[in-house]
Amino acid sequence: MTDMTSNSANPGKTVKVDYLTRVEGEGGLHIWVDNGEVRELNLRIFEPPRFFEGILRGRHFQEVPDITARICGICPVAYQMSSVHALEAALGVKPGAEIRLLRRLLYCAEWMESHALHIYLLHAPDFLGYESAVSLAADFPREVERGLRLKKIGNALLEFLGGRATHPVSVCVGGFYKAPRKKDLVKFREDFEWGLEASKETLRLVAGFNFPEFTPAYEFVSVSHPNEYPMNEYRIVSSAGLDLEPAEFERVFLEEHVARSTALHSVRADTGRSYLVGPLARLNLNFEKLLPQAKEAARASGVSWPCRNPFQGIVARAIELIQVFEEALSILDSYQEPARSRVDLKVRAGEGCAATEAPRGVLYHRYRINDQGLVEFAKIVPPTAQNLRRMEDDLRLLVPGVWRRSEAEITHVCENLIRSYDPCISCSTHFLKLRLDRH
């Protein structure tokens, strides 16, 4: 819904949009524009804080993956992966190669279902001129069914590896409660092969969208591994030259509480500037580590990499869909059942942190446990929370260029921009009623 009001005391214009559709969570956006200049911009988050960091205190470390998984129904694996890696760092253990591979496959499953959902049901309608996936489905049933099947494969793989499609139960500190049998895993081959081709079709679809021209100067931040496209490991890098151990995360990135929001906003501690995490950052910083078919498709997509247009995040997600289906096939071929599904753990006091790549970007966890294995301290920094300041900065840059348009067009382009981040407001807790004051 959009209202338009004028205020005689302030001769500028006010455009009010109550709700931003097709994001997860509740929030509000108020923008006051005066003669093309943004005077005030408030991205307000209405979701009540979830207090997960407080809930975890006093719990045994093996409860942490199950509890943190419930922060999000779309990216539970991300919370589990960041938590187990951080806790394993605290305990001084490192699971073996087979468990590492299974964890990557589990993450592939989550990226499959999350990216497919976002591309087809949340963001594609913006570019195809539909108000929702429901209206899109009426005219493009084949495409929407493709997206649903891609998501279904991801969910099926999640359920197979994790024991449940939502909030997996098999992940534990040290590995998995149960490792899959190879003879059962190979049953996914046909789905993976279909998914790989369907992902390429997805890229062909989205790369042809008409994208607004908008290329801010970002600092991209992502996890980085020497040889692989990043998921669970290893260091944190940026386009401004950062190359960090996870233990340096809190020194370099600062969370600030903003009075208008229940979510914290993240900036560089030294400059106070925002930064960007997510598929666009990941792809820009790790392009050469894409698997061959994903890389070839990315080069042929018509989009130049590195790419600074946030609206083309949907293209990055489509490329990552190819990447994870290609990787899933590779893992399926190379997987050897581990002799044991998890390593032995010796409980000790310790502190550890880790950063892994949730579908939406860098997810950082830190835990301190005592000699009985109980959590004394927990810190969780979700990717959407890290992007909130950057979202505001982007809106400040975007709005002056569109403020003379109709309120419906302004609303649409602002909503489109925010959806390009694929924000998970409930993770950041802290979505979207848009109120645009235009003067």
Partner: protein, 175 residues
């Protein structure tokens, strides 16, 4: 006619575990006579259940202001059911009306849908379920064979209008 029971909720959050607990106890019965699935979070993934049964029964904790342990039977969709904070916002937590609209747009088959709601007292993490909620759970499990019969009977009174049974009301689906 095939029945699929979908238990919803959060096993860690007090009374919000009611739906999953009912499912767990039904799984332990040998005479369940239907498929059972745990779906901690409803969403567009519900579409995948539509092909698996002629009748879907969602079992979940609800909050309506009624006394804790009240049992509600609501044919779906129903204007009386409002997903928390979802409305037009969420793609991640697609609510049931959106999922049904998508199914219709895609020409998918839609089964008959029923919600069995267990009125909650509290969803505080790691807190045991309220006594009235426990009683309601036990009553549902005990009366399930009758509920199953009524669900699979399109002429049954439970399909005509919503019904509620306060805690301690033994008339719930009593033969």
């Amino acid at each position: 006619m095939r029945l699929l029971v979908i238990g919803c909720g959060n096993p860690l959050a007090g009374d919000d575990s009611a739906g999953l607990e009912i499912l767990r106890r039904l799984q332990a019965r040998s005479d369940c006579g239907c498929k059972l699935r745990a779906a901690p979070q409803a969403g567009v993934g519900l579409l995948e259940f539509f092909d698996q049964a002629d009748v879907l029964l969602f079992v979940d904790a609800v909050s309506s202001g009624a006394p804790a342990g009240t049992l509600h039977l609501l044919p779906l969709p129903s204007p009386e059911v409002e997903s928390r904070g979802i409305r037009t916002l969420s793609g991640h937590g697609w609510d049931l009306p959106q999922t049904l609209a998508l199914a219709r747009a895609l020409g998918r088959r839609i089964p008959k849908l029923m919600l069995l709601g267990v009125e909650m007292a509290s969803v505080t993490p790691f807190v045991p379920r309220a006594a009235d909620v426990e009683e309601a759970i036990a009553l549902v499990v005990d009366r399930f064979p009758r509920l199953r019969s009524m669900l699979l009977d399109a002429a049954s009174e439970i399909w005509r209008e919503p019904q509620s049974f306060f805690a301690g009301d033994d008339s719930f689906l009593k033969e």
